[in-house]
Subunit: 499 residues, 2 copies
């Protein structure tokens, strides 16, 4: 793509002043509209060293209300960030509705510069490129506007700029030996950048290469693109609000995802039990084993993600407690998932889960999970029809990302029947120290049992994958359920450790 960029395209000072002023005012006004309508915008700047990314951002943000944007400079991942999946640090920085995140360099460093300087394999490169495309598509599907600039200058111009920076005392230190090395190998970088632009120039998030040798010309282009794109996105959003979707969506899962068959809930035999004696013996043994495995996982820096979903009063809490009791508190966390708060609602629904991932070597237990999207949100209409249909793919992609990072993903559906639930609800109601565990909402949910059963069967069918399979835990006998959960967990860890 770069060969088509007009590097020199200049604009006279007079033309610039009158036109740019108009565009800047428009940008200021558009930000207010964006806020009102809740449009989230991501603007990223990639390009050659000394191409003027910093000063372009500097100029641009002077037209923006600081309460509505944040600038992020992407440098090498910190130690802390290196212990999370590669896309974690970008997911954590997506803007809330109505806000702007501006990136000075971005996730594109991981598939450009990294190729030459971190020597990543071809396979890893492809994987990262797919991760990025998935990231941008998921955001775009959720209504995020993504504007990507690449600031282009020639080898000669870059050298000239570095030389000029070096001349001045206060800026000389900014030119490093790495910069000089990069200028010398300009052609190699050119090829890498050009391939990156071609491979990630999607309809969800197209690239805007900018000839940056003439600063005024570059700024004029940037302002024009910003104003047009934001204006269009606002118009599109308004139109969507007026004319709701009529097409009936269907659930579909990409062919690259291999689904594993899981029985329907109605087929589950809930009469499995265990004697108290066996329970005590087996629990102690299993916990001891799990404790040892936790040590090994920690040493090998393998992260584990345990997902608990299940009927109200099915025994999730007690089950989690027995798993947790075997673990070193320095190496695990229980993440209870309640209804999203205001900040969480103003982001992509997966955002809060990206922010709660364990570090490599740690275990995260989720007490309820991202599957809320295809259960409570589907049934209560907290998301649109189209959104929950799309979610199966998004969730599979999310879990695939975690798997590729190296995580072991264990998902439990803690199962009881309707009758058993009633018994337990009544017991909670009648026992003073248990009463806090039961709320009106539990009773309301119970009335929708049949709707939930349909949704859960869909969930089990479309999100049980070879890399993140569901296990149904029969929990009419809670003790049986606890042993089965720990044993399943042990088994999946041992498989990964190659035992």
């Amino acid at each position: 793509m770069l060969e088509q960029v007009n590097l020199k395209k200049a604009i006279t000072k007079e033309e610039y002043q009158s036109e740019a002023d108009r565009l800047k005012t428009e940008l200021t006004m558009l930000q207010q509209e964006m806020k009102q309508i809740g449009l989230p915008v991501i603007i990223l700047f990639e390009g050659w060293g000394a191409a003027g990314k910093g000063s372009a951002i500097s100029k641009m943000i002077l037209n923006l209300d600081p309460r509505g944007f944040k600038v992020y400079s992407t440098i090498d991942a910190t130690q802390e960030e290196q212990r999370k999946p590669i896309m974690h640090r970008y997911w954590s920085k997506i803007p809330a509705h109505g806000n702007i995140s501006i990136f000075d360099r971005s996730w594109y460093q991981d598939i450009s510069i990294a190729q030459l300087e971190k020597h990543i394999s071809k396979e890893e490169l492809n994987r990262r490129t797919e991760s990025i495309k998935t990231f941008e598509r998921q955001l775009s599907d959720d209504g995020y506007l993504i504007i990507k600039f690449f600031l282009h200058i020639s080898k000669k111009e870059q050298k000239k700029r570095f030389d000029k920076l070096k001349e001045e005392k206060s800026t000389a230190w900014r030119v490093t030996s790495l910069d000089k090395e990069r200028n010398k190998n300009y052609d190699k970088y050119y090829e890498v950048f050009d391939n990156m632009l071609i491979n990630t120039n999607t309809s969800d998030a197209p690239w805007h290469p900018i000839g940056a040798e003439d600063t005024r010309g570059a700024m004029f282009n940037i302002y024009t693109i910003l104003v047009n794109n934001i204006k269009n996105a606002i118009a599109k959003r308004r139109a969507q609000k007026q004319v709701p979707q009529v097409e009936i969506p269907t659930i579909s899962v990409p062919q690259t995802i291999h689904l594993i068959e899981v029985p329907k809930l109605s087929e589950i035999n809930l009469n499995k039990t265990i004697t108290d004696e066996d329970y005590k013996k087996l629990l102690g043994k299993a916990q001891e084993k799990l404790h040892k495995l936790h040590n090994k996982l920690y040493q090998k820096k393998i992260p584990v993600i345990i997902c608990y979903e299940g009927w109200d009063a099915a025994g999730k809490g007690g089950n989690i407690k027995r798993v947790a009791a075997a673990l070193d508190p320095r190496g695990y966390e229980v993440n209870p998932i309640a209804a999203p708060d205001k900040t969480e609602l103003a982001h992509h629904y997966l955002w809060r889960f990206w922010n709660q991932l364990p570090k490599a070597g740690h275990i995260a237990i989720f007490d309820r999970t991202w599957y809320g999207r295809v259960m409570v949100e589907r049934i209560e209409g907290f998301c649109s029809n189209e959104e929950w249909h799309r979610a199966y793919t998004e969730i599979n992609e999310f879990e695939k990302e975690l798997y590729d990072w190296g995580a072991i993903i264990v998902k439990f559906w803690i199962h009881i029947d309707k009758e058993e639930q009633l018994k337990r609800f009544e017991d909670r109601q009648n026992t003073p120290e248990k009463r806090w565990k039961i709320t009106d909402e539990d009773w309301r949910n119970r009335e929708k049992w049949d709707d939930y059963e349909v949704a859960i069967n869909d969930m089990l069918q479309y999100t049980s994958t070879d890399f993140a399979p569901w296990t149904i835990i029969e929990s009419k006998d809670k003790k049986f359920a606890r042993i089965k959960a720990i044993k399943t967990l042990i088994n999946q860890i041992e498989i990964r450790l190659g035992k």
Copy 2:
């Protein structure tokens, strides 16, 4: 303190089982009460390596609802954390009202182990100890309950435990050469720990040394202390809610804080102006100078904190814009401060500011600040009489902490008079593209001008210190104000850089 600890205090298995069960159930119930009443609790565990901190926490949390607590392991500060003030990483982890933060090792590492292993100076040690005491007092004053355990074992016992860990394959790697070194130098560490306990055994947050050679005895003590302390704190809180404070508090600032005299608002001459020609010339020059200084600050890793307070419509936004225009966007951030959200309200009021500090070498511009406590919160009654009186000291301490870390703190009061404000309000009302800038609240605040003037004069009088002085910026002529602000900033930076 350690010599008084009974290391062996044993309890029979039978005694333990019946008593501990009762205490555990009580703890579970108390957590629910804590939640209802909004009591925040900090529990920290310090002690010898292999004294059983991890397993004590493990056992304790099994009795707690995971939705209400979080465990933090304190290890060496990450690169990221090292660029923030030392107390930052602890402030960021304080619990919300009704929640529990549990620390496996804590801020006490910085004044114990660090003495022997990081070779900090006596002076630094004293400074850190004071910081910790201030931290705990501020939290305690705000209603936080702090429970501090020190798990004590003898040199011999520690060696025995290390040897046992080494014997088992899955735990052998946990015993490092550093552990062995520490055991060998047990006596040195003993002295350091003992001094730490004595020096920080305050009434706000007393220490509970626990003899930990007998595990059951230790757990029994821990449960007892937890239950008693939480119960008392709940009772105290209920009592306070019933009988409001009658004492009339006064503003007082510790003698160690040196105040600098600032004129009263009524004494300010607002007729200072500048010609357009001078403005253009001086602005360009000043911005260029500031830009160069920003580079130097970055190189020397000096953080800068710029605080903007001022009357509505005084011109804060435009003033900030002119400062920002001179800065590299990769090295500064504007933090607009609005009314606290739900999460922020559930923490100490300084918490959100601790979380928005710049990294060393960066500049943070606060568009409104922590001074909201002694202005809007005081006037609107969002905090108690006692709370805003106490705030002057808390804020001075907070800024002192930032200064000691190495920060340059520049505080502007952007000033206009009542008449000028009316003119600007009306102008905003009558200009379509400015209308979003004026709200009903602005008009309501205007009615309370006189109350604000009293509060502002108090603020200027009691928080203008030698390490963080206030500068009043006459802003009837906005251009004059911008030049004065940038020049003040340049001046304060140059003083620090030793020019």
